[in-house]
Symmetry: C2
Subunit: 350 residues, 2 copies
């Protein structure tokens, strides 16, 4: 009988970073799709939109007026899920009904004054300004005694719940460490205590030797489809140097992060020739005053599309009740991303 072949047979992969499993069904990509098709919006936007509450000089819901900013701009979310002034308190009935007050700060970051751009359409120096603002915000928010974790992220595209196409991201900073980075802390700490090196340093070394899942590299960062990727075209940007957070990056490394984000998102747009939807965000050490030498800075990209601009992966019944499941192998997806040009299709003059 045939021996096990991960390009063909169903299998589970272990997410060493989060300590969880994903079910991989390589043979299943051939199944026909008769379900929901996503809309591909024609992405024709003006450079300035008088009705956009993020454009320079416009007013927001709360009545505040945006400055005429020329690169980036950050402000407190007018409808933040977290607020700073929450009275402490909670509930605990037999460990079964447990709640506790949570305080925090929600910020919105405009990446550019230009309403019609997205990260892949910006220059490296312009994206570097976004990186600089991430650094500043992480520093300021993380220094507060009432903030122990800072989550920087972007939801791109209507499919990812983004309600305004003006290029922007968010920061939710809060008192407690949320579940995802908490799981990564457990895994990274166990590995660091055993090996004296960060989990992602050793993982990166294996991936660079194999070159099966690497998408692109520069001097300071590597972009790859993780061995345990859940989303069809999920990627991770890992710093070559084991730094715990973005404030430790040198100026050259900040440029290199901007370069990696730009080149990756251009490849994403080129894959299905649309403005590629995703949620992305940095994972960094908790800002709880401890050193966290086990932590290794990285950035996750979770894009929903599976087979084309209109066919997405649904994480539904089995995935919600059992385990995440994927239909193509991470190696296949990495190959598809590697094939893409790093010239954006809109600039390619085809």
């Amino acid at each position: 009988s045939a021996s096990f072949d991960s390009t063909e047979h169903p299998h589970r992969r272990f997410n060493a970073l989060a300590g969880e499993w994903v079910l991989v069904s390589p043979h299943r990509s051939k199944r026909p799709w008769q379900g929901q098709q996503e809309e591909t919006e024609q992405d024709q936007r003006p450079a300035y939109d008088p009705t956009c509450y993020l454009c320079p000089g416009n007013s927001r819901v709360g009545g505040e007026v945006n400055p005429k900013y020329e690169s980036t701009f950050v402000f407190n979310n007018d409808f933040g899920a977290l607020t700073a002034d929450v009275p402490t308190g909670g509930v605990n009935e037999g460990g079964l009904l447990r709640a506790e007050a949570e305080s925090g700060i929600c910020r919105v970051i405009c990446f550019s004054p230009r309403h019609d751009l997205t990260l892949p359409q910006m220059t490296v120096p312009a994206i570097r300004k976004v990186v600089d603002l991430w650094v500043e915000e992480f520093q300021t928010l993380g220094a507060r005694p009432d903030i122990n974790y800072v989550q920087i992220f972007e939801n791109k595209g209507p499919m990812m719940g983004c309600s305004n196409p003006h290029p922007h991201g968010q920061i939710w900073a809060q008192r407690t460490v949320p579940g995802e980075p908490a799981k990564e802390t457990v895994q990274q700490l166990a590995y660091f205590q055993e090996h004296g090196r960060t989990l992602l340093s050793d993982y990166l070394k294996i991936e660079l030797e194999k070159q099966e899942r690497v998408v692109l590299e520069n001097e300071h960062f590597v972009v790859l489809v993780p061995f345990w990727a859940v989303w069809p075209y999920e990627t991770i940007i890992i710093s070559r140097r084991a730094v715990q957070d973005i404030t430790q990056l040198t100026p050259d490394e900040r440029d290199a992060l901007a370069d990696a984000v730009r080149r990756l998102t251009i490849r994403y747009d080129n894959l299905f020739r649309i403005s590629f939807p995703y949620s992305a965000g940095l994972h960094q050490r908790p800002t709880d005053g401890q050193e966290h030498p086990e932590w290794h800075l990285h950035m996750h990209f979770y894009p929903p599309l599976l087979r084309s601009a209109t066919v997405r992966k649904f994480m539904v019944g089995y995935e919600m009740l059992g385990d995440p499941q994927r239909d193509v192998t991470p190696e296949f997806s990495a190959g598809r991303l590697r094939e893409q040009s790093e010239v954006h299709y809109k600039d390619a003059g085809e």
Copy 2:
């Protein structure tokens, strides 16, 4: 200064069943929505559709012909994510690249020969036939030595990745226990060892006393919005008697489960006057040959809609990178569901 008020202030709630947290932002439900709107398909289907591969007498992709079934019908998924004949094997490189072959069986269950029905439009005796099939399948699949967990579920509606409107559900049965039931096993076992009663018995007792989150009851089951609900209108059906799996239900209890499913899904449809999308599924003891006295049968319903038939909750950036987040309290949602009639709006002749 004001004291903590869970109807007003952001807080975290602990999911005692899964051992995880959810962020609750009650004040945030007022935020305006300018993002993606879902389509509401007009649900006008014929009782028989000659092009449907699930209708009685029609042929499927593999060429097989469905029998002229008169109540339920079950068969092996022609594009199953799991297959039974996988060679064993795997990979382990330093604990960082870890994979193992996974075997299993994927089944499809047609709930009715009628192409135009959904569970809330079926009678209790007809839904009872579905329950009977769940019992049979759990028994047969669970008895196999190569199957240690049986996941029964339904994806309803295109928004939940369902590609055929013919009323049907699925079963994925496999060698290993997936992450979600594994977490519930850990939590339930710890509770059972400490108290000698199942976690859900004690939880149910508290909820029945409070009546804040209960949606409906019958002699053998209670439907409520869990204290730790993630999705806006998430519910759970809990058996009053602590049984480990569906095969232990008496005939009366099977009828009562059918009744609870029917009344809940009618309320769901009435809430926004559409065929309400959701993923739902039973959680039961692993079929690994052990008794699992800690396990308590229940059924989860995870519906995506938030404010109307066209505005859904997006579990995106913060949720994927941090923790799940919700914008209305479970108590509010339970109140809205309690207000609904148990006569389906299509039958109400309004």
